[in-house]
């Protein structure tokens, strides 16, 4: 891979996945500066890893693997034993009742995700990004069946947690 090809592939992946990668960072961190730092680190690692990309898997799947590994290492390095940060409500500029409800629900979702273990958090984040079971299995290294079982359990836990929050039973 020459420099021009590397740059083109990097820009393609960056443009296609910028928002997804930001949301993935949301799943692991909460402070905006930490999220920015992690995003920067993911992109740096992507750039460094590009020469070793052989095309065995889809580029987006490959990028997710880099992003997940970077996120896990980043969090361990930053706060090895600290509790998860307090979740801030997203800035949705709530001008209507519906927007306020959406903001509350998104906060509850983020909080529910933050309470999950690393692997479950990764799986639910990938599912929320509309990845297929097969793609999730490729990224996590689990079998498709195992992914299916885990998803069913995580979805139930998430929905239950959000329902508890919406009923004030925190």
């Amino acid at each position: 891979m020459n420099h021009a090809e590397r740059e083109r592939l990097f820009l393609d992946l960056f443009q296609q996945n910028k928002s997804r990668m930001h949301r993935l960072c949301f799943a692991y961190l909460n402070s905006p500066s930490d999220i920015d730092d992690l995003f920067q680190e993911i992109m740096t690692n992507l750039w460094n890893a590009l020469p070793s990309f052989r095309g065995d898997s889809h580029p987006n799947t490959w990028l997710y693997r880099i992003a997940v590994n970077t996120a896990l290492l980043y969090r361990r390095r930053q706060r090895p034993s600290a509790p998860l940060p307090e979740i801030e409500p997203p800035d949705l500029s709530p001008s209507t009742q519906q927007q306020m409800e959406s903001a509350e629900r998104l906060t509850a979702l983020r909080r529910a995700i933050a309470e999950l273990g690393d692997q479950d958090r990764l799986i639910i984040t990938l599912l929320l990004e509309s990845l297929s079971y097969k793609e999730i299995a490729e990224i996590t290294g689990l079998t498709v069946n195992h992914v299916g079982v885990k998803i069913s359990r995580i979805k139930h836990a998430i929905e239950q947690r959000i329902t508890e929050v919406s009923h004030g039973a925190v």
């Binding site: 500066s33 929320l128 509309s130």
Partner: protein, 199 residues
């Protein structure tokens, strides 16, 4: 129970964190402009060094000590030029598409260092080489000089590098104001925004 599809839509439509409202393209353009300007200046310096090299070899080939002194200065000048050029190219290629607080702080620090880049090993070698080289040139001219002329020659060889340093600092300070200050001001605004969001 919250329907999962609804959560999926909510998740995918959430706003992005970080300096997404920062005009990354404009910043990249300003830094590219800085890079082009430095390229032009450094190319001019390279041509000047090449011309001095050719002239020195042609005119001083029968004066080995003189030629050695000039070569010493030229080699260290080339080393300093390459180091500085690489540093300036690195600054010009900063990517501000996803800036973080640490990254912007680092970028500002690197630009601030451009105000006085002479406190580096390479420039230390250059000033040392200039000092040594000028004194060697004086020694090379001993044959046709009187004792007092030699003393004056050595005094000038000490004084001249100091004057060059002061002049170079003055030129750099002026260049920094026009080349780097606008970039630093641009980044300071971005840094304030990012820090505000982090609070």
């Amino acid at each position: 129970m919250a329907p999962f599809d609804e959560l999926q839509v909510l998740w995918q439509n959430q706003p992005e964190a970080g300096g997404s409202h920062f005009d990354a393209a404009a910043a990249a353009g300003a830094f590219r402009h800085y890079g082009r300007r430095q390229d032009t200046i450094n190319i001019a310096k390279s041509i000047a060094l090449a011309a001095i090299t050719v002239y020195s070899v042609a005119s001083m080939r029968h004066r080995p000590l003189f030629l050695f002194a000039v070569t010493l200065i030229l080699f260290s000048a080339v080393l300093a030029l390459i180091t500085e050029w690489r540093n300036q190219r690195a600054i010009a290629s900063f990517d501000f598409s996803a800036p973080s607080v640490a990254f912007v702080r680092g970028a500002i620090a690197r630009l601030q260092k451009q105000r006085n880049p002479f406190h580096t090993r390479e420039f230390g070698i250059l000033f040392g080489a200039v000092f040594l080289g000028y004194n060697l040139m004086v020694v090379a001219s001993y044959g046709k000089w009187t004792v007092s002329q030699r003393v004056i020659g050595h005094a000038a060889a000490v004084f001249l590098p100091a004057m060059i340093y002061v002049f170079a600092r003055w030129v750099r300070a002026r260049r920094w104001e026009t080349e780097c200050r606008p970039l630093v001001e641009r980044l300071t605004v971005l840094l304030d925004t990012l820090e505000e969001r982090a609070r």
